[in-house]
Symmetry: C2
Subunit: 143 residues, 2 copies
């Protein structure tokens, strides 16, 4: 098996190569239901939460499952009540490897990406899967 | 970039190598909230739905987001009301490549695995990521 390991030169690359440049946000007073609708509409798994032009938190698929459905919480509740407040971010020049280590260590699947102190992107496990999937598809199509 | 593509010999391997052998189920009359609690407790992203000892459907993270939270549905509703009824399955000897093509074509992230007509496992995108992550970690730890 060891001989079959692919060479992940790519994990030394900066997260700017893999992140989504589209970061979607909702106002902190938005209802959970409306936020979920937006996630479905844009086929995304996280939203940043904005208050007075500042990003104050993040909501993800897992938050909806754990803090809303599993708790029987009313979906008219404001997103501010269920968002993750502790924003863990990485700089745009951080390597994918380091970002993955942070995600694994903190057990998170989404990490906002900063450039010059501003959030300019979102790195998700899905981005990394899509990247892997693209490679798989390339492999499939080249056969 | 093309030169850097890893060789995915593994995608010719059967899904039995990558699937989760633990398949969790809930009774069709279980409430959505209870099902979500179970998913959180066991850290899983799907559950099969059982009625009269037969698997009649599947519920996933995406179903909770799309059909419950985004619709403002009461979480005391029975899972049978929101499950995916059309069960797409693969045989345990199907290649990962073929399973991936089915998942991509049907836009699904979970696929129950059958052996001799019985569901014996679940293949998820997460299994494939974990596999990729393990390889990344192996790569990291060997540096």
């Amino acid at each position: 098996m060891v001989e079959e390991l692919p060479k992940f030169h790519e994990i030394e690359n900066p997260v700017r190569t893999f992140m989504s440049k589209r970061v979607f946000g909702v106002d902190s007073e938005t209802s959970i239901q409306e936020a979920a609708e937006k996630m479905v509409e844009f086929n995304i798994s996280s939203l940043v939460v904005v208050k007075n032009d500042e990003i104050i938190g993040l909501i993800t698929n897992d938050d909806l499952k754990k803090r809303v459905v599993a708790k029987g919480l009313d979906s008219t509740t404001e997103v501010e009540k269920i968002m993750t407040k502790e924003l863990i971010t990485v700089d745009i020049d951080t390597s994918v490897k380091e970002a993955l280590e942070i995600m694994a260590g903190k057990n998170i699947k989404h990490i906002p990406v900063k450039e010059d102190g501003e959030i300019v992107g979102m790195l998700t496990f899905s981005d990394l899967i899509d990247f892997e999937k693209q490679k798989l598809e390339t492999h499939i199509s080249r056969e």
